[in-house]
């Protein structure tokens, strides 16, 4: 994630100076753009060997208590509080381990981690260690869905090609998604893994029933999208947003065009969409847009497929619009 030439705060996060007035019950209130910021030259102190090990040697270090022998990874202390503060010594631990428990998956991240989502964060007990290291977990098979990585799943530490001496320089993937040689390799790099494993699902040749289902779903989707476009609350959800979405289903294909508050359906095949949605069963999408279950959930549960992880944000906005329409009806 962290690239060397980046600013510590990305420019797009920084608002312009400014203020505006908000009127509530005829009283005026002044709202001012503001920030609270502090820069650091922060020493990693006693953790320096651990972070240098990651950055320079592609090694994972822990610390072993000279008395009880407990191996802690990360080596977050120099003396063992369980043994009257007996000293610990730095040891190298393995780069394969098992998940201590099932890791959570964050689908809706804050702005700092938007590009990373959906992401898993869990704790791995590496071979030779007794305690767990917090790590991001990824799959090479597309969107990280529940069930891919669980308690006890064997995972491998992978090093990012560009490293800055930070905990985000490493992450884990299930060993079963790697070759034997990759699992055995010490200091496996992200670029040495095939990330193109996620392929667009094939759609079978449509039957008459598929075409009928498509016709029915399309009719509903059209009317829902029309309603969204007429609902002020829903329009607000896509203010400033622009996306051309190609939607492929077994029975047929169409486009959803989002343009700064406007949303419309067009019965055409986009050649340069921002991203692709594949819905084997178009009803799944119709349900989501009509607020009968979240579209994001359908992606998570693999009923829907999207071509770009990062477009989860757009799907999230569609869910929001479905809710806004439902709320406006209330």
């Amino acid at each position: 994630m962290a690239k060397m030439k980046e600013k510590v705060i990305a420019p797009e996060y920084i608002p312009e100076k400014g203020s505006h007035v908000l009127t509530i019950d005829k009283e005026k209130y002044l709202i001012v753009n503001d920030a609270m910021y502090t820069f650091y030259q922060r020493s990693k102190g006693e953790f320096s060997p651990f972070f240098l090990g990651i950055r320079d040697d592609k090694k994972i270090l822990g610390c072993k208590c000279t008395k009880c022998g407990l191996v802690r990874c990360p080596p977050f202390l120099t003396h063992c509080p369980d043994c009257n503060f007996a000293p610990t010594k730095i040891v190298e631990v393995g780069q394969v381990g098992k998940m201590l428990s099932t890791p959570p998956i964050t689908y809706f991240a804050n702005s700092l981690f938007l590009k990373m989502a959906p992401y898993g964060r869990g704790r791995v007990v590496l071979q030779g260690a007794d305690t767990a290291l917090s790590v991001n977990v990824y799959t090479t098979t597309g969107i990280l869905a529940p069930g891919i990585i669980k308690k006890g799943t064997e995972v491998k530490v992978v090093f990012r090609d560009e490293r800055n001496g930070e905990i985000s320089d490493i992450f884990c993937v299930p060993t079963k998604e790697l070759t034997k040689a990759q699992v055995a390799k010490k200091g496996l790099l992200a670029s040495q893994i095939n990330w193109e494993g996620a392929v667009e699902p094939d759609l079978k040749k449509p039957t008459a029933a598929d075409k009928a289902a498509y016709g029915k779903a399309l009719k509903e989707i059209k009317s829902v999208i029309k309603l969204m476009n007429q609902t002020e609350r829903a329009r607000k959800d896509i203010a400033g947003w622009k996306r051309d979405i190609k939607v492929k289903t077994t029975g047929g294909e169409f486009a959803i065009i989002i343009n700064n508050g406007d949303i419309k359906l067009e019965e055409k095949k986009l050649t340069k969409p921002d991203f692709v949605v594949v819905a084997r069963d178009p009803k799944v999408l119709a349900d989501g847009l009509a607020y009968r279950g979240a579209i994001t959930d359908s992606i998570i549960m693999k009923r829907l497929w999207i071509s770009k992880n990062i477009e989860f944000t757009t799907i999230f906005k569609l869910d929001r619009m479905a809710r806004s329409v439902a709320r406006s009806k209330k």
């Binding site: 428990s101 998956i105 700092l112 992401y119």
Partner: protein
């Protein structure tokens, strides 16, 4: 022998998603004005103030309590802030109790305030992502923050570890029913952020996953507001009570525990919330409660997430561990059941104004004990990474 301490006044400001009309100075003073009115005393009669404020960044000020001292009328008196994550409010009550029980002061103001949605994310043009980011600075800065640590994903770690051990518990239908039930309770709380936001179990089930396994309608909402209590030692409490005509609600038990922030052998036991277990059982011991299932009538529980509410109830020994779904399946927390849980709507519906939240819970517990003429209530606060911190207070009606 330490002195008995009781609650003789309580107040909250409205809990709102955003208070553009007021700063945290005014919210703090509002709660103070209301609480001295409730106790029918003058602020001049209050010896000490204990501030419950969680996060400096929310208030955009380090030592955010310093401007409050003078404007709440506590100039030249004792003032101390407590900050222990989500458990801030409950820990603050505990701290105030200790000073009064030791005889240092006769009266104390417990004042919780938080102004979290001034934080604003200019990319999405909304507050929530920035609020989550701000709380994200609470994660371990060497080993976790950069991995996208959030309050939700760290609590989800504990919940999923519990589900690893008890895969048949915390059924989605049950968590949905609990959320729906709380949304019914909140109708009676005119100070709540979501007083009119009633949802069906189906709507909860259909709400989107935010952090697996938490759905949007199973998560507390961020709120701005303040809450305050007046605590007094026995003689003073009785005198105030005589004047107000309201009974003293005695603080008979307190317990606190902070777990390890790292997990694995000899450290945090992921499938448990040991802090909840230890804190509640320490509080039971102090209050002389042998059988909590029999003794506890009302629970005001810090429900950051519905799943955690269920696990926490099991750590309190109010429902079997591994079968927390009995809360609904066996009707334990349904109307007419063993316990009344979160009659204020909890943090999911009343709102989570972090430092003020547990103080609001104590306000609600006191109201309910008096209104329903019940004997014993439990007030709870949980906080920090992987549900590390807990403080529990036992409140008893005379």
């Amino acid at each position: 022998m330490s002195k008995r301490v009781g609650i003789v006044g309580a107040a909250v400001t409205p809990f709102k998603a955003k208070w553009n009309e007021k700063t945290y100075y005014e919210l703090a003073q509002m709660a103070t004005r209301e609480v001295v009115k409730d106790a029918k005393i003058s602020i001049k009669d209050v010896d000490s103030v204990f501030y419950a404020i969680y996060n400096d960044i929310f208030e955009r000020t380090c030592i955010p309590e310093h401007p409050l001292q003078g404007l709440i009328g506590m100039q030249d008196k004792f003032g101390m802030r407590v900050s222990t994550g989500g458990a801030t409010g409950a820990y603050t009550i505990s701290a105030a109790h200790a000073y009064l029980a030791a005889g240092r002061f006769k009266t104390a103001l417990v004042l919780g305030v938080e102004k979290c949605t001034d934080c604003f994310d200019f990319l999405s043009m909304s507050a929530t992502p920035e609020v989550i980011k701000t709380i994200g600075w609470s994660g371990d800065s060497f080993f976790e923050q950069q991995l996208g640590w959030t309050a939700a994903d760290s609590y989800a770690e504990v919940v999923l570890a519990y589900m690893d051990e008890h895969p048949k518990d915390l059924k989605p239908q049950v968590t949905a029913k609990i959320s729906s039930l709380l949304s019914q309770y909140v109708k009676n709380n005119k100070f709540a952020q979501r007083q009119h936001d009633q949802v069906t179990p189906q709507e909860v089930m259909n709400s989107r996953l935010i952090v697996y396994p938490f759905k949007e309608l199973e998560i507390c909402v961020y709120t701005e507001g303040a809450a305050a209590l007046i605590l007094a030692e026995e003689d003073t409490a009785k005198a105030i009570s005589k004047n107000t005509g309201k009974p003293v609600i005695w603080i008979t038990g307190l317990g606190e525990a902070n777990e390890h922030s790292f997990a694995g052998k000899k450290q945090k036991v992921m499938p448990r919330i040991m802090s909840d277990y230890l804190a509640s059982h320490r509080a039971y011991k102090m209050a002389g409660i042998k059988n909590p299932m029999k003794s506890i009538d009302i629970v005001e529980l810090h429900d950051a997430f519905v799943h955690q509410l269920e696990i926490t109830m099991s750590e309190f020994d109010l429902v079997p561990r591994g079968n927390a779904d009995a809360l609904i399946d066996d009707g334990l927390m349904l109307p007419g059941g063993e316990y009344l849980v979160n009659p204020c709507g909890g943090l999911i519906y009343c709102g989570h104004a972090v430092g003020a939240s547990n103080v609001m819970s104590a306000w609600s517990a006191r109201n309910e004990l008096i209104k329903r003429k019940k004997k014993t209530a439990l007030v709870h606060g949980t906080g920090s990474t992987i549900a590390q911190y807990t403080a529990v207070c036992i409140l008893e009606h005379d």
